[in-house]
């Protein structure tokens, strides 16, 4: 499956996109359901199998570029499923379920279509940096192609009908992964959280729903899906809200560099010191240290490592990735040792 690529990050995670100093990645997700079927939660095993087969055939017939690989999650090992979660290609919920379900993934991992998650079809497009419009345009094209094959449940009043009423309408979820160490260090992060809440946006950690923000990585997404067009939702998000947060973060970073340079350098070089010498490294600690290293790179305080290297490490230090790289299962203590060695090697230390 994605075996050949487990020691590399998908294109969307390697960095290099617009506003990459603050915006790691952009994602657009569309929720769709087939008309004439119950939603997944109410469908029995036979119906789910039927749905799965229908979607598999439609995706196979559809002319989607780049082409999609079908991964039947009932056949995938738990390690492979965990890898897909760590790469943001499937949800935790989808990984853990046991009923007939799948995901179709493009070679470059920019497109992933989950089948039989909460909705019959959940299509996502990932991009590096701030490229929401681009991500939406591709999602829209794939949606059009699928729609030629499948009848999606739609009502003129409520739009695309979804299992959860909070997704009804456009069924769209746009989100960005933000690196906000500046706002964290200057204590302004709660202001951003509150402002986001007032604007009906959800703020989550790196690992998605219900997780704390580890390593100063925050995922921000829209919540309103009814009564606003996709274009309006995108505009509000990428042209109004996110640029403001990005500016706040840059201002906070500049303030740190101008007024608290020693404190800043202390954080950055301690992070470098620990990462390049540690013999045991937990994933949370590693992510937290990589976050400071990234901050130091963005502010030109350090040049002993590349941005792409740090971005990739943020992904690869997760446990399923490490076990793929090691090509064997690793228990907790062994994993921490392996992680420390892997990071040292990658940093050339």
């Amino acid at each position: 499956m994605t075996e050949h690529a487990s020691d590399k990050a998908g294109q969307w995670m390697r960095g290099g996109g617009p506003d990459q100093d603050v915006v790691l990645s952009s994602r657009v997700r569309l929720a769709r359901n087939l008309a004439g079927y119950p939603f997944v939660g109410r469908a029995d095993t036979n119906q789910r199998r039927d749905l799965l087969e229908r979607c598999r055939m439609s995706i196979a017939r559809a002319d989607i570029t780049p082409g999609l690989h079908w991964v039947d999650l009932n056949d995938a090992s738990s390690l492979d499923r965990k890898l897909l979660v760590e790469r943001h290609l499937i949800s935790r919920q989808h990984s853990k379920a046991t009923s007939p379900r799948a995901v179709a993934i493009s070679e470059d991992e920019s497109i992933a279509v989950m089948i039989n998650e909460e909705d019959h079809v959940r299509l996502q497009v990932l991009r590096t940096g701030m490229q929401l419009q681009d991500a939406y345009d591709q999602a829209d094209v794939v949606d059009d192609v699928l729609e030629r094959q499948l009848d999606f449940a739609f009502s003129s009043q409520l739009g695309y009908l979804t299992a959860c009423p909070t997704n009804v309408g456009t069924g769209i979820r746009v989100s960005v992964m933000l690196h906000l160490p500046g706002l964290k260090l200057t204590g302004e992060i709660d202001k951003v959280r509150r402002a986001a809440k007032d604007m009906h946006l959800a703020v989550r950690g790196f690992y998605g729903e219900g997780t704390e923000a580890v390593g100063d990585l925050f995922q921000i997404s829209n919540q309103t899906t009814l009564g606003k067009s996709e274009g309006q939702i995108l505009f509000d998000f990428q042209d109004v809200v996110i640029p403001q947060i990005v500016e706040y973060e840059r201002k906070a970073r500049r303030a740190l560099a101008d007024h608290r340079a020693t404190v800043l350098d202390d954080k950055v070089f301690r992070a470098w010191g620990t990462l390049s010498t540690a013999r045991l490294l937990g994933s949370e600690e590693a992510l937290y240290l990589l976050s400071y290293l990234r901050l130091g790179l963005c502010l030109d305080r350090i040049d002993s490592v590349s941005m792409q290297n740090v971005n990739e490490l943020m992904l690869l230090i997760q446990s399923a990735h490490l076990q793929k790289i090691a090509a064997r299962p690793l228990g907790g203590p062994e994993r921490r040792e392996f992680r420390a060695r892997f990071v040292r090697e990658r940093l050339g230390a």
Partner: protein, 164 residues
């Protein structure tokens, strides 16, 4: 006074006029219920009280047990518990309960604005028919009624094949 039918004290006193004759009846509560002349005493049950209490305090809205989606068979109660709907038709079936929820979730909106599928999908009636047939089929398979299941499969493919 004792009950006419048993030895318990009579608490229900009735005067019936039958064929111009006055008949007096003195019954205990349970015999009155048995004879169909009284309804069970209305000492409120604790769960009813709790429910009323919760309704008052907004924790639970009055439920209509009978609201059920024709498409998938889900009851409003089931929807309340899971927060997830059973099928597209649930949006019609639970329209009333959904309206305030949709308003809260979507900044007061109640009308879709945005993308519309470029080709008209299968019509409402056929969608509902397909849903019902699939539900009956699942039930038939569950009950190991294979003949009925085969029959339903035929019907299903006929409806699916109807040109749209």
């Amino acid at each position: 006074m004792k009950c006419d039918s048993c030895d318990k004290p009579a608490t229900v006193h009735l005067i019936e006029i039958k064929g111009g004759q006055k008949i007096e009846k003195h019954l205990c509560e349970s015999c009155a219920v048995d004879e169909g002349v009284a309804v069970k005493a209305s000492t409120p049950h604790i769960s009813d009280l709790l429910e009323k209490f919760m309704i008052k305090h907004g924790a639970l809205e009055p439920t209509q047990q009978t609201v059920r989606c024709e498409g998938c068979g889900m009851t409003q109660e089931e929807f309340r518990k899971s927060g997830l709907l059973g099928c597209p038709h649930c949006y019609d079936a639970f329209e009333e309960a959904l309206a305030p929820l949709l308003g809260r979730a979507h900044e007061g909106a109640s009308q879709h604005v945005g993308k519309v599928p470029s080709r008209a999908g299968i019509d409402e009636i056929r969608q509902r028919r397909l849903m019902q047939l699939r539900r009956e089929l699942a039930e038939a398979v569950d009950a190991e009624q294979y003949e009925r299941a085969a029959n339903l499969r035929d019907q299903l493919s006929r409806v699916e094949a109807e040109d749209d």
